[in-house]
């Protein structure tokens, strides 16, 4: 059970505090309710580029990193299709430094031309390092475009193409800041060796006078229910054939989300999972195969992803995957198998919660979903999933017309 207190400043900033006196450190986590899904289709990659710019100096403080490091702190940030999260950890005696730094960049950035010029280049190198200079690096660009026709999950967080990042202007940056970076769209979580009342006072002192800004109302185009299977067959300079197939799955707040999550564990997570045991170990069609999803807030994708043993035909590999899905739908899961994936879930959560940083980020994320206390009720939801629900949802999810199949052939 994660204990926390919550309150809302008059400007709309939500503040959550989680005390843990077993550590000498404190974590300050600021989540902004903006991700790649909120981007203009002609200006993709912007939420992530912007995350880089948040370190390029704020209105009163030229160097974020230097000031934090002086206080013995470390920090980082990440952007997803759904959100942008900034976190720093520092000795709790110096926690006010984090309030100073985070509140100043929420108040206003310095909007330096130099920072934009440099970070555009840095992000382009990041793009190259992860997606161009790497075998199969573009596979998810292709899959997302095939799977989504309307929803902005069509593009990757890093952006659709290098050109979008290269063309970002200072004016775009300012508009983006004004629209998304304000107390009404942010969640502050403070955790670790802190006293709740002191955190409240510091929150008021540093964040209290930041103008509320406008609450961003998300209104994203949604997918129309898919009526026909989609397929793509490409050839590239890679050493072995790869197979990737996805199906639309329920959104994060749908009760079926937990069922879908357990389905991925049954099929493809761990050395005793079904796909690994049957297709890698027994049939030896794949050298590795996984089943997973991204936990996205809006309706996401359930994925089966593997590399083929040389000489195996992609068509045969796909049939073998389908046979495993059919088996699940036809015969369901055993009591032991269901217990296994529930035990795994319990264990994963316990290990994740070891770190104060993870606890802070989780609280922020669940608050974003609507209720931070969801963090404490998740396990119960997984434990109440039944074998029948698994079969029923599998039947619905794995319908061929709901699928997208990508053959990535070796030249």
């Amino acid at each position: 059970m994660i204990q926390f207190s919550r309150f809302v400043l008059p400007n709309g900033l939500r503040v959550l505090v989680h005390e843990d006196n077993s550590t000498p450190m404190a974590v300050v986590n600021v989540l902004y309710d903006v991700g790649a899904r909120d981007e203009d289709p002609n200006r993709t990659g912007f939420a992530h580029l912007f995350e880089h710019l948040m370190f390029g100096g704020s209105i009163n403080i030229p160097e974020y990193d230097d000031e934090l490091q002086k206080a013995g702190g470390e920090n980082n940030a990440y952007t997803t299709n759904d959100l942008t999260n900034y976190y720093c950890q520092l000795p709790s005696a110096n926690i006010e430094t984090a309030f100073w730094l985070e509140s100043d960049r929420m108040l206003s950035l310095a909007f330096s031309k130099k920072s934009l010029d440099v970070q555009r280049k840095v992000v382009c190198e990041e793009f190259k390092e992860h997606y161009i200079n790497r075998p199969y690096g573009d596979i998810w660009f292709k899959m997302r475009e095939m799977a989504y026709e309307q929803h902005p999950y069509r593009w990757m967080t890093i952006g659709k193409e290098l050109k979008h990042v290269e063309e970002a202007s200072l004016d775009d940056v300012k508009k983006f800041f004004k629209k998304h970076y304000n107390p009404a769209n942010a969640i502050l979580v403070v955790a670790g060796n802190v006293v709740t009342e002191q955190v409240y006072e510091l929150a008021i002192k540093w964040f209290g006078d930041i103008p509320a800004g406008e609450k961003y109302n998300r209104n994203l185009p949604q997918e129309i229910e898919q009526q026909e299977a989609r397929r793509l067959d490409i050839t590239a300079d890679v050493p072995v054939d790869a197979f990737l197939k996805t199906w639309h799955m329920p959104s994060r707040l749908d009760p079926d989300y937990y069922v879908a999550d357990l389905i991925t564990d049954i099929l493809g997570s761990g050395a005793s999972s079904r796909l690994y045991q049957s297709l890698v170990k027994e049939k030896q069609l794949f050298t590795n195969i996984d089943c997973y999803h991204f936990g996205s807030t809006d309706a996401g994708l359930i994925c089966v992803d593997g590399k083929l043993v040389k000489g195996v035909r992609l068509e045969d590999a796909e049939l073998a995957v389908q046979a495993q899905l059919d088996l699940l739908i036809r015969e369901g899961v055993s009591v032991i198998e269901l217990e296994k994936v529930k035990n795994k879930t319990e264990s994963t959560m316990a290990f994740e919660d070891m770190s104060v940083m993870n606890r802070a980020a989780s609280l922020a994320y669940y608050e974003l979903l609507g209720d931070a206390n969801l963090m404490n009720t998740e396990l119960e939801k997984y434990n109440s999933v039944t074998a029948d629900q698994l079969v029923e949802l599998s039947r619905k999810l794995f319908e061929e017309k709901n699928s997208h199949t990508l053959y990535y052939r070796s030249k």
Binding site: M1, I61, E67, G72, P91, C124, E125, K128, Y200
Partner: protein, 451 residues
């Protein structure tokens, strides 16, 4: 629970309106709040409990943390230093859980997965580990399996064939990655291919593995090998009895280990430009020189100098090459974590057209460190960063046991930890400059770009 929280909210709402009236106008956002310099922090490494099992195997235990989880690591002296044929050590380690006379690989995996546990294997140069992570409550159910793996692993032929096939393909994919190729080559230049630190997997070594190689290695270095145990987490009160019952009667031993001597044969040529991917858009850059191990008195100061040079996000390399020039997504320098000898390495992926410019900047930064004293402000920042990150790194039982493992395996004393802290707090600019003059000389470095 929810009621309690609600009450708190009400209390605080009134609290805020009371506060807002007087705090707003008293601060200047340009002025940093006062800080306690991290160098003033008194860092303590939580001590371990030590036990010795019946067979002489030593057990180091750290009981800490709030979550009901446990980590048990069996460290065997079974790293690749001990192998007589390439890749035998890592293959044996990986295939330890691929079957016993009683259980198939699937049955083993299913048992581990059923309890939501994980059983990782890792092969290093001197040591090779089996690491169990589990909820504390399930440990008694899992220990008999570990005993079985340490006494009765049979290395089935078909599992070895599968291992060879899957790793051959994985290697084919990895060889397309410039960073993977660069990491292999730079180690080979530093130590020579026949040295355990310089060797790497090749197709022919993989193909040449036999069941007999693995069984022999297993018998000598696991079943009858030497082992140290490291345990951390929320420990059951009878942890010592549990582990003694599980493996205390086995022919595994504790005690000192002699490492086989392998001559180091560094490459003669210093500069390399390798073409790996004709369509690549980035070069993998590695710049490295040899460096003594942790017993050398220069090691402490070099860790501070390294931080200043390229050891963290606020370092000079990062500030110059990423934050000023935008040549790369990231650049770091570090001291390799080897027991017998280390190396000082600079590592980055940079745009193809700016790779040479990046190398030039690295040498410029070395020259600055040799020629100019670091100013007090920058040094204080580095000190505070290192103290803060050490403090953060001592967070939680797994991190604490990791520190102890490092001390024990390197044959260091507890004072090693406190000596590094003292160095961080007190090292002077002159000493850092002396170290830079001694070690950061471009002509001593190997230089590699893989594009």
């Amino acid at each position: 629970m929810s009621d309690v929280r609600r009450e708190k909210e009400d209390f605080l709402t009134s609290h805020i309106s009371h506060l807002t009236s007087h705090v707003y106008n008293i601060m200047n956002r340009k002025i940093a709040p006062p800080i306690k310099d991290a160098v003033e922090f008194d860092l303590k490494l939580k001590p371990y409990d030590k036990y010795v099992l019946r067979n002489g195997v030593e057990l180091y235990a750290v009981n800490a943390g709030a979550e009901e989880v446990i980590q048990v690591e069996w460290v065997f002296f079974a790293g690749n230093s001990f192998e007589k044929k390439h890749m035998v050590a890592s293959a044996t380690n990986f295939l330890l859980k691929s079957g016993t006379s009683q259980k198939s690989a699937f049955a083993i995996n299913e048992l581990v997965d059923y309890y939501g546990a994980s059983l990782a294997r890792t092969c290093y140069n001197e040591t090779a580990s089996i690491t169990l992570h589990s909820l504390t409550k399930h440990l008694p159910k899992l220990l008999p399996l570990i005993r079985e793996l340490l006494t009765d692993a049979i290395f089935p032929e078909e599992e070895i064939l599968l291992f060879q096939q899957n790793n051959r393909q994985r290697l084919e994919v990895n060889l397309k990655k410039n960073d993977f190729v660069a990491n292999r080559l730079i180690d080979e230049y530093l130590y020579g291919f026949e040295h355990p630190y310089g060797t790497y997997s090749r197709f022919e070594d993989l193909a040449g593995l036999t069941r007999e190689d693995l069984v022999d290695f297993y018998n000598q270095y696991y079943r009858n090998g030497k082992c140290i145990l490291f345990v951390a987490g929320k420990l059951p009160p009878n942890i010592m009895e549990l582990l003694d019952a599980a493996i205390g009667d086995l022919p595994i031993q504790g005690g000192a280990v002699e490492y086989p001597a392998h001559p180091i044969l560094p490459a003669g040529e210093k500069k390399y430009r390798i073409s790996n991917d004709p369509n690549g858009v980035q070069g993998a850059i590695r710049i490295a020189r040899d460096f003594p191990n942790r017993h050398h008195p220069d090691f402490f100061g070099a860790q501070v100098l390294n931080a200043l040079f390229g050891g963290f996000f606020g370092s000079r390399l990062m500030n110059n090459i990423r934050e000023d020039k935008g040549y790369t997504y990231g650049i770091y320098s570090y001291l390799q974590n080897h027991l017998q000898r280390s190396a000082w390495m600079i590592s980055t992926e940079a745009g193809k057209e700016v790779s040479e410019a990046t190398i030039e900047e690295v040498y410029k930064e070395m020259a600055l460190l040799r020629e100019e004293l670091v100013d007090e402000e920058e040094l204080l920042l580095v000190r505070n960063y290192l103290m803060g990150s050490t403090l953060g790194d001592l967070d939680g039982p797994f991190h604490i046991i990791g520190r102890w493992k490092n001390i024990v395996l390197n044959g260091l004393s507890e004072d090693y930890f406190y000596q590094s802290i003292r160095t961080i707090k007190t090292i002077q600019p002159e000493e850092l400059q002396q170290l830079a003059k001694k070690y950061l000389q471009p002509e001593d470095f190997y230089e590699l770009v893989v594009v």
